[in-house]
Amino acid sequence: MKPAAFEYHAPRTLEEALGLLHEHQDEAKVLAGGQSLVPAMNFRLARPSVLVDIAHLPDLDRIEATEPGSVTVGARVRHLDLEHNTIGGPLGSLFALTGRWVGHYPIRVRGTFGGSLAHADPAAEWCALACALDAEIHCRSASGSRSVGAGDFFEQMAFTTCLEPDELLVGVRLPELSDSCGVGMAEFARRWGDFAIVLAVTAVERDGDSIAGARIALGGVAGGPVRASNAEAALAGRPATAGTVAAAAAAAAEEVDPTGDIHGSADYRRDLVRAMVTRALDQALK
């Protein structure tokens, strides 16, 4: 369990990093927190011949309110910083609620937000959160920059995004959530710290006793994070009651099309979708 030989670069500027990615194309891999890439290299499942470590790039570790109504999280902001609610408001609460489900403490100390999105594990908490909130993902390469909506960023194949080999994910823009928005997160894993079998991330806009609108994203049920749009529709404009929640959870279980693996069959995952959506919504409506 030792990696194949590789070359290591620790550029000090964004331009230098992008230059290296451009030069080495798919021979190169970005190294962020290393919490997914390094194990994969040790198993020799990933064998980049060049590593471009972004640990020293300036600015990518900031959380900023760049424009009114939104927050931009730099690519190498650590899981732990988000778990500690550095953002505030309902958005900050959602980050905090979600963050504590990402792996174990030591992993959250090193692992990065951008790394999680770029890695695109189908059961990653941050990917589901980005999907739920229609995050905008900023990518840079030597030849330019672009922003991609979460819906287009994640391919419906595990560990696959629209990032080109020479592209660096630099930051993620998320909408602020209004104060009348309730947030909820529920996850089922075999043990504390394990990747989820199924997880649900929700943000529910209240209008008095009714639900104005809701966002629900699921992890662990497809190649990437997915929105439960039928469930969202089942909530919009309805009274915030247990019956409404149950109907939405049933709709979510109905609309997903999971595949089974050693930790659970497709039926089992459907059952979990129903349970997790119920629990996440209950939390959001509390």
Binding site: A4, W192, H263, S265, Y268
Partner: protein
């Protein structure tokens, strides 16, 4: 230290721990790192479960060794001398066929492990893959592929052991029964998962012609013998050293092919070569464990008395036999011990070992007992529910109370506290109070349950017990050599091979009491075949009983010698001399001589010793007992989440009887570790392969040991029944935790889900399995999918 206070029975902190917790413990990988010039090996392994090797191609000139590199080497073959046994031979490296995924085919050597892995990747093994057989039931089908083609299998395709036993009146007992309970128990495959995987360092010294193998191992002397036999060399040419060993649990007991190949390679190349197994290799191709199915039928009276038991046991033992205990250990132990502590006169059993294209099986903490206890305890609970009896009552009606008792197989059971520990567990849980709480919870749609598990564990057995299995290599006795050096300190050299159990501390306590010294003055030497007497290592909950017994016998001899010298020196009678506080004193007086003074005389003024006392203070003793049953009751309280199938352990209570506890803290530590592995067995750990034999749980992302977050506080209460089956009064306690826990957990889940009519007979009871049972139950009761 005041006179009269005994060390035995005190929870002394372990002498072993300061080095370990400060990172000073030296494991085999540390030893390998320390030696400059160490080469590193990697094994090229079969990617398929079954096939014929067509060719092995390596880069020209590369140090790649295959079976052809070692023409003189023998196969490994341990035997049982019984007509219902088929011996399986294991080549050290695969020769023409591969029979399980990960089977070692070639060994490569390089300057570092990373380079060795690079080289291993360049070795191309061309295998003509054939259809594998993975499941034991499927393997016995005459049309199934034969794992060892060409081998005579008179008992059926791939059946390598088919043992039967029956008392006379089994059918009559079933005819007389009011209720017959049938049960199918399935225990899936596991890996013992020591934190340190296997590893070894073979160093050949051309100047002496000797080879030293430093290895993660529990049986160093046996390993030396096996290496000498297989390599066809004298044992004097070999030395086996076991440094710190990071857990073993049986996985480091049997002789690994890799260690043999490593020693052969070191001798061939005249080099020092390390092989440090990584986790994926360990999960794939170290020894596996469990993988049993039991079909059980119990004949009960209306009142819950068990009249008869009929069992059909099948063990999937994988592709080869382990060495030296053989694959027979699983089915034969299951057959001999299944009835457990329940009074029973009519018993019929058939127990088979079936070879398949899976990784071979070796004993793992408890061996067959976690599964046979699960089977019996599930039988009791299922019968209780059928007969509308309380689980405690049905057990009380059947548990042995009078001793000595003999199981229907003739196995003698010495005094224990079966009923007492059960009652104590029920009381510790406040069973009545729990039942009220359970009902309240049920009204809120919550599922709480309680489960009990009562068992006896046969421990500390010597050669008579192993001989009953007709083993060609019959383990069992232990020898302890004791020496008091001129300063009055004591060295104990033992053949047992502790690897984390704290045996050095416990033996020091025992010896301190016998010799009148302090435990700190005793140093225990183990794990080096050059400096310890031949012995069988540490396994089967034996060390405190057998090595402890030998230590006590040796100490009695040394004490007699000390008393004799003291008596001569003090002009008293040896019978009047007491050894205490580092002195030998004439009883009832203050006249005495210190032990260091006696030791000086014995070593440095031996001309003053009266005949026939010889110079020095060195004795040896051997102990070879018949065995003693320790016992315990485990009780678990769980809550099952009906939506997810998740089982939360709320409480776990153990009432343990290990006889005399030399160090109760160590006993408790053994129970905590064992229960944790039992919980792993019950709920978490499972090796899963796909239909082509590929291991799907090849890393710790998928093979899931429970962590501190999943394991509740384990509440241990101690009971001590002293019997004369063990001369120290101690009974073995190394495996009990792992044996009792699975049944307690599965019984608790079944109790929780009893409103839905669910019985859980398969382990691990993973959330998806539990949820599947709930889904099925709900759809039959409500007629729709929930």
């Amino acid at each position: 230290m005041t006179a009269g206070v005994r060390w035995t029975g005190r929870s002394l902190r372990r002498f072993e721990d300061p080095a370990l917790v400060r990172g000073l413990g030296r494991f085999v990988a540390d030893v390998a790192d320390r030696d400059r010039g160490t080469l590193h090996a990697a094994f090229v392994r079969s990617a398929v479960p079954a096939g014929e090797i067509r060719s092995i191609e390596a880069p020209p000139g590369a140090p790649v060794l295959t079976s052809e590199s070692f023409p003189g080497i023998r196969t490994m073959c341990a035997r049982l001398d019984r007509p219902d046994f088929v011996a399986l031979e294991t080549p050290v490296l695969a020769t023409d066929a591969v029979r399980h995924p990960g089977e070692p085919v070639a060994l490569v050597v390089a300057g570092s492990r990373a380079e060795a892995e690079d080289l291993a990747e360049q070795v191309v093994v061309d295998i003509d893959a054939t259809r594998p057989v993975l499941d034991a039931a499927a393997a016995t089908d005459p049309a199934a592929p034969t794992v060892h083609a060409g081998l005579d299998m008179p008992m059926g395709n791939n059946v390598v052991l088919d043992a039967r036993f029956s008392t006379e009146g089994v059918d009559a007992a079933f005819d007389a029964a009011d209720e017959i309970v049938t049960l199918d128990i399935r225990a899936h495959r596991q890996n013992a998962l020591p934190i340190e995987a296997r590893g070894a360092l073979a160093a050949h010294d051309p100047s002496t012609g000797r080879t030293t193998l430093t290895a993660a191992n529990q049986m160093p002397h046996m390993l030396r013998t096996a290496l000498a036999d297989i390599l066809d060399i004298g044992e004097a040419e070999l030395r086996v050293v076991t440094p710190e060993v990071g857990g073993a649990f049986g996985q480091k007991m049997c002789v690994p092919r890799e260690y043999v190949a490593l020693v052969a390679a070191a001798r061939l190349l005249g080099a020092t070569i390390a092989w440090i197994e990584d986790r994926s290799e360990n999960l794939l191709a170290s020894w596996h464990s469990r993988d049993h199915t039991y079909r059980l039928r119990g004949a009960f009276t209306r009142g819950g008395r068990l009249l008869g038991l009929d069992a059909d046991i099948v063990c999937n033992i994988g592709a080869y036999s382990n060495y030296p205990v053989t694959f027979g250990v699983e089915p034969l132990m299951a057959m001999a011990e299944l009835p457990g502590p329940y009074r029973l006169s009519q018993y019929r059993v058939r127990s088979r070992a079936v070879t398949t294209n899976m990784c071979p099986i070796a004993p793992y903490r408890g061996v067959s007992r976690p599964v046979l206890t699960l089977a019996m305890e599930r039988l009791m609970d299922t019968a209780a529910r059928r007969l509308d009896l309380d689980p405690v009552e049905i057990r009380r009606a059947n548990l042995v109370r009078e001793f000595p008792y003999a199981m229907p197989t003739g196995l003698p059971v010495d005094p224990g506290s079966y009923v007492e520990t059960l009652d104590a567990a029920a009381e510790a849980l406040d069973l009545e109070g729990f039942r009220r709480r359970q009902q309240q919870a049920a009204a809120e749609g919550r599922y709480l349950g309680v489960g009990f598990s009562v068992f006896g564990e046969r421990t500390g057995y010597g050669t008579p017990a192993f001989a009953a299995r007709a083993m060609e290599i019959t383990p069992g006795y232990e020898t302890v050599q004791l020496e008091m050096n001129p300063s009055g300190d004591v060295t104990a050299r033992i053949g047992a091979s502790p690897h984390g159990q704290g045996l050095a501390t416990a033996l020091s306590q025992l010896l301190a009491d016998e010799l009148g010294v302090e435990p700190r003055q005793v140093s225990v030497v183990h794990g080096d075949t050059d400096t310890t007497p031949y012995g069988w290592g540490t396994f089967a909950s034996r060390s405190m009983v057998i090595a402890g017994g030998a230590a006590k016998l040796a100490a009695e001899r040394l004490a007699a010698q000390l008393r004799e010298i003291a008596a001569h020196h003090l002009e008293a009678s040896p019978a009047d001399i007491r050894l205490e506080d580092n002195s030998a004193v004439v009883a009832g007086t203050s006249v005495g001589v210190t032990l260091p003074e006696i030791a000086r005389i014995a070593h440095h003024s031996s001309h003053l010793l009266p005949a026939p006392i010889e110079p020095g203070l060195s004795v040896s003793a051997t102990y070879d007992p018949g065995g003693t049953f320790s016992n315990a009751c485990h009780a678990a309280v769980v809550e099952v989440d009906p939506d997810t199938g998740h089982v939360r352990l709320e409480r776990f209570v153990v009432i343990a009887d290990a006889g005399l506890e030399v160090n109760p803290m160590i006993v408790e530590g053994q129970i905590h570790g064992g229960v944790t592995q039992g919980i792993a067995n019950a709920l978490y750990e499972e090796l899963v392969t796909d239909d082509d034999g590929n291991l799907l749980t090849a890393s710790l992302m998928d093979f899931l040991p429970p962590t501190a977050c999943e394991v509740p506080l384990i509440e241990v209460t101690h009971v001590q029944t002293i019997t004369d089956a063990s001369i120290t009064g101690a009974k073995g306690v190394g495996e009990g935790g792992a044996i009792g826990a699975p049944a307690a957990v599965l019984n608790a889940i079944s109790d929780a889900l009893s409103p839905l009519g669910i019985e859980v007979d398969e382990m691990p009871a993973t959330p998806s399995r539990v949820r599947e049972l709930i889904r099925r139950a709900q759809s039959t009761t409500t007629g729709d999918r929930t």
